[in-house]
């Protein structure tokens, strides 16, 4: 919650006055939104890696049914007497895993297609059309269909979300890549005999790399939301916990109205993680590119 007012500070005049040197060296962390968002992301990563070693898996059925938060059960218990805190901790691992890996898959496909479209003129119409078509389809119903057919599991979720999230990345990378591909030094490289593969990987890719980093964060944020949505609709891995599944359990058992703790804490976790990833992405973008400050 404490991160909420930060995005407003992103484009204050004070930030624009930061010297060029400072921008390059410690720019990202010069605003509170920078270190706060990274701090939150780091905290989630620690919980995801070490949490399940410390907190017992919420598998056993307890006798404390629908308890409100207390010293024994920090986040209360659900209708089967399972500890909600343990569910959220174990869910962190799945949410982060799906978000990170799906984002990496989408980034690889999206960057490759975007750069190819930006440099190879013949490929451009095909990639652009494919991107537009994908962007105009309702993604969630498609993900539901594919996940249902493939059989719900963590691997399926990662693959489906990763393979269907590249169009946004492609669109941004292509737009940026087109600008770079028109620069004189690209012509220079071509005159020196560099092939398309070399120009794309050695000349254009480094130039758009900051945007790729931003996209990793934004895509991961969207992937976390997508995973939560699929799990909430019952398409999650039935054998592992996820934040969406906790909400689904509350919905199925009809305890939404009575047991606020069962829905509030996983909701806060989603909000905080996605917000932190989004703000870190925006902050990184702003700290790299002085032009975006004056919007």
């Amino acid at each position: 919650m404490s991160t909420e007012p930060q995005p407003l500070k992103v484009d204050t005049p004070a930030a624009a006055l930061t010297s060029a040197r400072r921008r390059r060296s410690g720019g990202f962390f010069s605003a509170p939104s920078g270190w706060l968002s990274v701090g939150v992301l780091g905290l989630f990563a620690v919980v995801a890696i070490f949490g399940p070693m410390v907190v017992d898996s919420p598998s056993g059925l307890g006798t404390d049914i629908l308890q409100s938060p207390s010293g024994a059960h920090w986040f209360g218990t659900d209708d089967l007497g399972q500890d909600v805190f343990a569910q959220v901790v174990w869910g962190t691992r799945i949410s982060l895993l799906v978000g990170a890996v799906a984002s990496l898959i989408a980034i690889c496909i999206g960057t490759l297609l975007g750069l190819a479209a930006a440099y190879v003129k013949r490929l451009d119409p095909v990639v652009t059309t494919a991107t537009d078509v994908m962007l105009s389809l309702p993604m969630l119903p498609l993900m539901i269909l594919v996940t249902a057919l493939a059989g719900p599991s963590v691997l399926t979720l990662i693959t489906v979300i990763g393979l269907l999230s590249w169009p946004e990345v492609t669109r941004m990378i292509r737009a940026n890549g087109l600008v770079v591909a028109a620069m004189p030094y690209i012509d220079g490289a071509r005159v020196l005999g560099a092939g398309a593969t070399r120009i794309i990987s050695r000349e254009i890719l480094p130039a758009v790399m900051p945007l790729v980093v931003v996209n990793v964060l934004l895509t991961a944020a969207r992937a976390v939301i997508a995973e939560a949505g699929l799990s909430f609709l019952g398409m999650g891995d039935p054998s592992s916990w996820s934040w969406g599944r906790i909400l689904l359990n509350a919905q199925r058992s009809g305890t939404i109205a009575s047991a606020w703790w069962q829905t509030l804490f996983p909701s806060l976790a989603i909000l905080l993680l996605v917000l932190a990833a989004t703000i870190a992405g925006i902050r990184y973008n702003d700290s790299r590119d002085p032009r975006t400050r004056g919007v």
Binding site: D132, F232, Q251, L271
Partner: protein
């Protein structure tokens, strides 16, 4: 103008064709054998073969594909595995509710988002502007079921202001029925608008700020036009066009949001049907739901494109 309209129409048809083709090959390539899912319990190989030929699964895949496209054109989406009635009947019963929910969310987002975006751009750095920027960023992080559950618990269960399920009270007639309809629509609609509004208003604000700096705005001001007229007539017109197109692109996300919202509020639209079919692994319904939602989104997108065309003199000529 005709060329533009024709290219949009071609794009729409292409998108629908790709959507149904992808669905077809997904169903064939993924491991799930539909015949094993129709009836629970043991089946003799003869029964399986009979079912396969009934579904046309014993024919070569290209022939199946042509058959499938032909049936789609006739509006035949197959038969539900579980309810044993045509999928198209099931979907057509549910679609009006989804259209009502998503359509009113679309319109309401425009109606609130446009004045909000304009106010933010005109009074840069003010309260409205700060609020729009704040919600523009935080809205992306909002998980729709979380928002919907919060509204349901606070305004539905605790305060009791709104009903918490279904779309209409079946006992009401006439004017009371419309009242009941709106009463049931309020919370799902509000959940969707809350999530859509922020990014939309922010985009409009950014466009508006850009447009307000253009030469023709300065010239309009220098001609002595009132501030109100310059902002709402001259600037808004050009700022709203990209925003309308963006809204068209967001339709897929909007429908995804509707699916989640309907699930929370037990609103009887296509989304709730998807949720019910997921539990029962009713593949024909899931497939049909995707196809019909894709067609809906593409057609709505086509409409917004054509509307932008009418509004935009640069394309019109």
């Amino acid at each position: 103008m005709l060329r533009y309209a024709a290219s949009r129409l071609f794009r729409a048809i292409l998108t629908i064709w790709i959507a149904v083709t992808v669905t077809f090959f997904l169903l064939r390539l993924l491991p799930a054998d539909p015949t094993l899912l129709v009836v629970e319990g043991d089946m003799t190989p003869e029964m399986q073969d009979a079912l396969r030929s009934q579904y046309g699964l014993d024919k070569p895949i290209l022939q199946q594909y042509v058959l499938y496209l032909g049936q789609l054109v006739q509006g035949n989406l197959g038969v539900s595995f579980r309810q044993l009635i045509p999928v198209s009947d099931l979907l057509l019963n549910r679609l009006p509710w989804t259209l009502l929910l998503a359509g009113s969310a679309f319109v309401l987002t425009l109606l609130i988002g446009i004045p909000l975006g304009v106010k933010a751009a005109v009074g840069r750095g003010g309260m409205v502007d700060r609020a729009v920027q704040f919600f523009g960023i935080t809205s992306n992080a909002l998980f729709i079921p979380s928002v919907a559950i919060l509204l349901l618990v606070v305004f539905g269960s605790n305060l009791g202001w709104f009903p918490i399920g279904q779309a209409i009270d079946p006992d009401t007639r006439g004017l009371a029925a419309y009242g009941s309809l709106l009463h049931h629509l309020a919370l799902p609609l509000f959940s969707l608008v809350l999530v859509q509004l922020g990014p939309y208003a922010l985009t409009l604000r950014t466009n508006m700020v850009e447009v307000l700096g253009e030469d023709y705005i300065t010239s309009a001001r220098s001609r002595g036009l009132t501030h109100r007229r310059v902002v709402w007539r001259h600037a808004l017109r050009n700022a709203v066009l990209p925003a309308l197109m963006l809204m068209g692109l967001q339709l897929g996300t909007l429908i995804g949001g509707a699916v989640l919202t309907e699930t929370v509020f037990a609103y009887p639209g296509v989304g709730r049907l998807i949720f019910e079919s997921v539990q029962q692994l009713d593949f024909p319904v899931l497939q049909g739901a995707f196809v019909i939602l894709a067609v809906t989104v593409v057609l709505a997108n086509l409409l917004t494109d054509l509307l932008s065309m009418v509004l935009n003199p640069r394309i019109r000529t």
